[in-house]
């Protein structure tokens, strides 16, 4: 029986299999293609798990641009209207101009070595720079490419001269497609496809900028001879900013500004903003026994508020008086809004190594307060959208405030260092803590503070001994006592200084209302260089 059955099976299998295959294999379809202006263009397409990828060379041939090998074998460079796209082959991050753009999947080499790119690559490059739209239709294997209609964008112009530098701000409702052309004594912002709706023309009266002409095709900025022009962009709303200054003016550190005399008033320390580090969903460091930094900083800050008020007679504002999440920018903004003379951010430390202990005091590092670097950072980030507070008028949302945000603390570094040294000295003397010294770091909470500002680390809660001590109210009281003495000494120093000779508008009023915790303070009409919070850059923890 066996001998008769198996040949039967075999014959049946051979008979049925081709029929099944014929039924299962899809009919050959037309190869994948791009559709542009009704024409079909051959386009290599690879369907990867993360989505389709398209042959870049075929698109470059039809949409324009220059594709060239990069500086190294594993990179390539795509140039679109003067904007360079750096492609790391095998990497899911590209750079478009100054922006780092993560992609949904890496750019890889396909058959024949052609670069295969995902659709978000195309949207971030050809879409954003040249205005194309891309729609992948998997059922027909077609990439439909559209041309975005030319937009007419209103532009707002602001020209401000301050502290030896003129800042020209061009504000748009959305990012235009443009390129910047520099010539001797002039800068042009030329539109690429888009058109501008010029505002009513007003003569420019500025020592550095002679004229600004806005036509539908371009913005022409005429500057004085021999001046440097630096440009960068800010987002939300999109702005192109030009700083016009004498050569090297930006690099020269500004003269240190004394605290307590923001507008020429009598020197003194009237208002102090105390910032309990972290809060809400941001726990900060967590000690071995589970003690959270955010809870101890709040206790310390409340105690400090009480002692500063009672002993020194100063007004004290806490950035948060409860366990609440508060963005870092808002903390310095609260200090600015309250016209504070000092800003103290209270933290507790942790270390990945064992045995770390002691206190240390930070002020902002020079690198973080460098104007150009800060601006570059602002340009790299696309901040999250922040709606202006209700009731804002156009005049009240000053571009200048956003620009000056990154520069705010740079004018107070020497005073911040002086104050930090006093704090560290008091902590060392009173508590016999290990002197970890005065340090500098690019701490974001200090950047926007328009007054001497420090971040003090009052011990390591990662260290079991210090964690235990920090839970003791008497020990915390001693820490706060040291901080109070340091503020007192600094206050004495400031008040011993001669008052500025030049008369000026009213100084620190000392009666501004504290802002609610968590609210984004709004300053209606601040006097420059008072900074208000800039929109939150990027993702927050």
């Amino acid at each position: 029986m066996k001998d008769r059955r198996f040949p039967g099976f075999l014959a049946l299998t051979l008979l049925v299999l081709p029929l099944l295959l014929a039924a299962q294999i899809p009919r050959p379809e037309a190869p994948a293609a791009a559709v542009l202006d009704g024409r079909e263009l051959p386009l290599p397409v690879a369907i990867n798990p993360a989505g389709p990828a398209f042959g870049l060379s075929a698109l470059v041939n039809n949409l324009g641009g220059t594709l060239a090998p990069g500086a190294t074998a594993e990179s390539a460079s795509l140039t679109l209207e003067g904007k360079e796209v750096v492609i790391g082959i095998g990497s899911a991050i590209i750079t478009v101009g100054d922006s780092v753009v993560p992609l949904s999947q890496p750019v890889v080499r396909g058959e024949g070595g052609t670069l295969m790119v995902p659709v978000d690559f195309l949207r971030k490059t050809y879409g954003d720079v040249l205005g194309y739209s891309f729609d992948w239709r998997p059922e027909s294997q077609r990439l439909v490419i559209g041309r975005r209609a030319a937009r007419e964008l209103p532009v707002l112009l602001d020209v401000v001269h301050l502290q030896g530098m003129t800042t020209v701000v061009l504000q748009f409702p959305e990012e235009p497609r443009y390129q910047i052309k520099r010539r001797t004594g002039a800068v042009d912002v030329q539109m690429l496809g888009d058109r501008l709706a010029p505002p009513p023309r007003h003569p420019v009266q500025d020592p550095f900028v002679q004229d600004v002409t806005i036509t539908p095709e371009q913005v022409h900025i005429q500057v004085g001879a021999g001046l440097d022009v630096a440009s960068y962009v800010l987002n939300n709303p999109f702005r192109i900013v030009f700083d016009v200054h004498q050569p090297s003016a930006v690099e020269t550190p500004a003269a240190p500004m004394a605290p307590g005399v923001p507008s020429g008033g009598p020197p003194g320390i009237h208002t102090i903003v105390v910032d309990p580090g972290h809060g809400g969903t941001e726990t900060g460091a967590i000690g071995p026994s589970g003690v959270m930094e955010k809870d101890l900083t709040l206790l310390l800050a409340r105690e400090l508020e009480s002692r500063l008020s009672s002993r020194l007679g100063v007004r004290v504002v806490l950035t948060r008086g409860e366990d609440a999440t508060l963005p870092l920018d808002d903390r310095a903004a609260i200090a600015n809004q309250n016209k504070a003379d000092l800003f103290i951010s209270i933290h507790l430390n942790s270390s990945l190594g064992t045995g770390a202990h002691g206190a240390e005091t930070y002020f902002l590092s020079a690198e973080a307060s460098d104007a150009k670097a800060a601006k570059a950072a602002a340009a790299e980030n696309a901040p999250a959208a922040v709606a202006p507070p209700p009731g804002d008028t156009k005049e009240e949302v000053k571009d200048l405030e956003l620009i000056l945000w990154d520069l705010a603390q740079s004018r107070h570094l020497s005073e911040s260092q002086r104050f930090a040294t006093l704090i560290q000295t008091e902590l060392n003397e009173a508590l016999q803590l290990r002197d970890r010294g005065v340090k500098q770091a690019p701490f974001i909470v200090l950047k926007g503070a328009e007054m001497p500002a420090v971040l003090v680390e009052l011990g390591f809660i990662s260290n079991p001994d210090e964690e235990k001590k920090l839970q003791d109210a008497a020990y915390r009281g001693a820490l706060v006592d040291s901080l109070t003495k340091a503020v007192g000494r600094y206050k004495e120093q400031v008040e011993a200084r001669p008052a500025p000779a030049a008369p000026a508008p009213a100084g620190n009023p000392g009666n501004a209302a504290p802002q609610p915790v968590g609210a984004v303070p709004h300053q209606p009409t601040p006097a420059p260089p008072q900074a208000t919070p800039k929109p939150n850059p990027g993702h927050r923890p």
């Binding site: 099976f9 049946l12 049925v16 299962q24 570059a376 790299e380 971040l455 680390e457």
Partner: protein
Amino acid sequence: MNRKAAAFILGLALALIAGGAFWWWWQGKGNHVRLGPEPAESAGPTEKVSVELYFPADEGLRTEKRDLDVTASRKDRIRKIVAALLAGPVSGGAARPFPEGVMLGGVQLGEDGTAYLDIRWEGHADPPASGSTEEMQRVYSVVDSLTANIPEVKQVVLLWNGVQRETFSGHLDTSRPLLPNRTLLTP
């Protein structure tokens, strides 16, 4: 059921299984791009280079020398150095900068000397909560190790799960390129 009918049904079932398997294989084959040569990042001859890695220890960073097999590609060097950091120190007393499970995603090296690193930790939207020293140990372990060993790397942008953050743990400004910080080095 007679034997012939049983044999027919069995044969048909086998044919269906075989046909289905073939179809499955065929469809799978059609869905995957045939990649050309892999990126040159890890290709080419390797050489052994001696590097100094900076691992968190005590209150700062401690140097640990290693020999790494790298290609001429700068990105390969970046990857090898970061991989060695993520794998952790061999000497006692030092710590790994990131928890186990943290991996390196995309790497980019810009012409201006900015290295872009995508630090990835699946399932963790945020980097570990920490104090400022711990945050600096974590970040500058990478920044200092790369800038000290790869002359072309001048500064480093760190991304977390593909996103550039304002800060990793609430202190350091990571929204901008980070320059080396040699003050953290301990003997």
